[in-house]
């Protein structure tokens, strides 16, 4: 399974990348929203994990753009921080499938991704 991770914090991005690679996924990374959208168009990932606050293009804009650009069936997990409940609701309205609030454990993220991988295997 191909996972696109969009996160502007390099350490966070690297941590998620290492975790998912350990789990055996093919990981594509992007450090800003525009790069994420470009990589989505070029590489058609099976799952997207995106931070909400990012330069050039926010996570919300990514969700909206992906769902419009033929990515209706691509699940999107949004990474939010405490106090961003309204933004998460907005993301759900735009088509996001799940969210994780920081602070989170890398294991938790891994389990959520695994759930989507199993769903995809079953369909």
């Amino acid at each position: 399974m191909k996972v696109l991770v969009a996160e502007d914090d390099m350490i966070m991005l690297k941590t998620i990348e290492v975790r998912l690679k350990k789990d055996g996924y093919n990981v594509i990374t992007a450090q800003d929203g525009k790069e994420a959208l470009r990589k989505f168009e070029q590489q058609a990932p099976d799952l997207i994990i995106t931070d909400i606050m990012m330069p050039f293009m926010s996570g919300l804009e990514i969700v909206g753009a992906v769902k419009k650009q033929g990515g209706k069936d691509t699940p999107i997990i949004v990474l939010s921080t405490m106090g961003q409940e309204n933004v998460v609701l907005e993301a759900f309205k735009l088509g996001a499938d799940d969210f994780i609030t920081k602070p989170f454990s890398p294991k938790e993220l891994s389990m959520r991704v695994q759930r989507y991988a199993q769903k995809m295997e079953n369909t």
């Binding site: 350490i11 966070m12 941590t15 920081k102 989170f104 454990s105």
Partner: protein
């Protein structure tokens, strides 16, 4: 003749200036490039160590990612500060064993000593940063120093110290309330209450003591705590707060009484009604709408004569709820057909229909 000699001097001066500017530009460009390269190298080495620690079973295993270069760079103050910033950011982003490993790394590298040194800095924002770092990294061993900073002359330093105390010790961290001389802002009180929302109070006796404080913001906060924890034990103390000359104390007491009324609550509210300002009066009338009964109707009818139109509107609203006739009461009022009551009653009746 003089001009003839001056011309080459001006040309040479301009050339020298041009040369100096070029040298300066080159120097700063090279310096900037070096610093950018350094930052990239720093980011990489810090990233490798932090990612290693986040995924390690123990901090020792994670520290295997530390290179000689990493340890050498630790002697540089700028690098250390950068490392602390990144550790703090990661500690905020991760939970569970990863967060614990990050804390252990911070301690192992003695970075707590650097954060602690910031507490004594002359610049307030560095003191605040030091407290924040120690707070996020759960360095409870510095509680004494942080406790004293809870009464610092700078508001943001105090706020950070007070938040850190509550993060460390929950309810007992509030002991700074016995010592603070400065006022707590409303915003900071909200922040503290948010931190306390999952905390179980140790003793309501503390709230009773804080309600006797000479610092009025502590009284306001104590009443808010009593409201948050639905603390019926301090009811009499809260009633006493209605007599305070401070409007914030009165308003917070009203909020408590509105949510936890007893039989005599409306009587206490009315007894202290005329000692308050318009804001307080409006709050009493609105509270009576929620907790009052037919017993309060004569008082409310009298207040329909108040000079202030906002009070008239609030009273009419409460009467439409409490009066057995509901909106029908408006027709029985002797001045119902005159200004401004006619407009007020019309407005309320129409709002209810809508």
């Amino acid at each position: 003749m003089k001009e003839f000699y001056l011309f080459p001097v001006i040309i040479y001066t301009l050339l020298i200036l041009l040369f100096l500017v070029t040298v300066l530009i080159m120097y700063f460009t090279i310096h900037r490039e070096e610093s950018d390269l350094n930052k990239i190298a720093w980011r990489h080495s810090v990233g490798v160590v932090i990612v290693g620690v986040v995924f390690s079973e123990g901090v020792e295993e994670g520290c295997e990612a530390m290179t000689y270069e990493f340890e050498r760079r630790l002697n540089k103050k700028g690098y250390k500060n950068y490392l602390i910033d990144e550790l703090i950011k990661s500690k905020r982003a991760f939970s569970g064993s990863s967060a614990n490993s990050l804390k252990l790394l911070y301690e192992r590298l003695n970075l707590d000593i650097d954060s602690f040194a910031k507490l004594h800095h002359a610049k307030w924002h560095i003191r605040a940063k030091g407290i924040q770092e120690l707070g996020i990294m759960e360095q409870t061993k510095y509680r004494k120093e942080i406790f004293w900073l809870a009464n610092d002359k700078h508001e943001l330093v105090r706020n950070e110290a007070q938040c850190a105390m509550v993060s460390f010790f929950g309810w007992s961290g509030l002991s700074f309330l016995n010592a603070i001389e400065h006022q707590m802002s409303q915003w900071h009180q909200v922040q503290l209450l948010d931190k306390l929302s999952d905390v179980k109070p140790d003793a309501f006796e503390d709230i009773r003591e804080w309600m006797e404080s000479t610092n009025e913001s502590v009284i306001v906060f104590a009443v808010k705590l009593a409201t948050l924890y639905k603390c019926h034990e301090v009811y009499q103390g809260v009633v006493k707060c209605l007599q305070s000359p401070n409007s914030q104390v009165k308003i917070s007491a009203l909020e408590y009484l509105r949510l936890m009324p007893q039989e005599d609550t409306s009587d206490h509210m009315i007894d202290n009604y005329y000692a308050g300002d318009t804001g307080y009066k409006l709050a009493v009338i609105t509270a009576l709408k929620d907790i009052g009964s037919e017993k309060e109707i004569p008082f409310l009818v009298k207040e329909l004569d108040d000079q202030d139109n906002d009070i008239k509107v609030a009273v009419a609203n409460s009467l439409s709820t409490l009066h057995p006739l509901g909106n029908g009461f408006f027709e029985t009022y002797p001045f119902a057909k005159t200004k401004p009551w006619k407009e007020i009653f019309f407005q309320i009746t129409n709002k209810k229909i809508a």
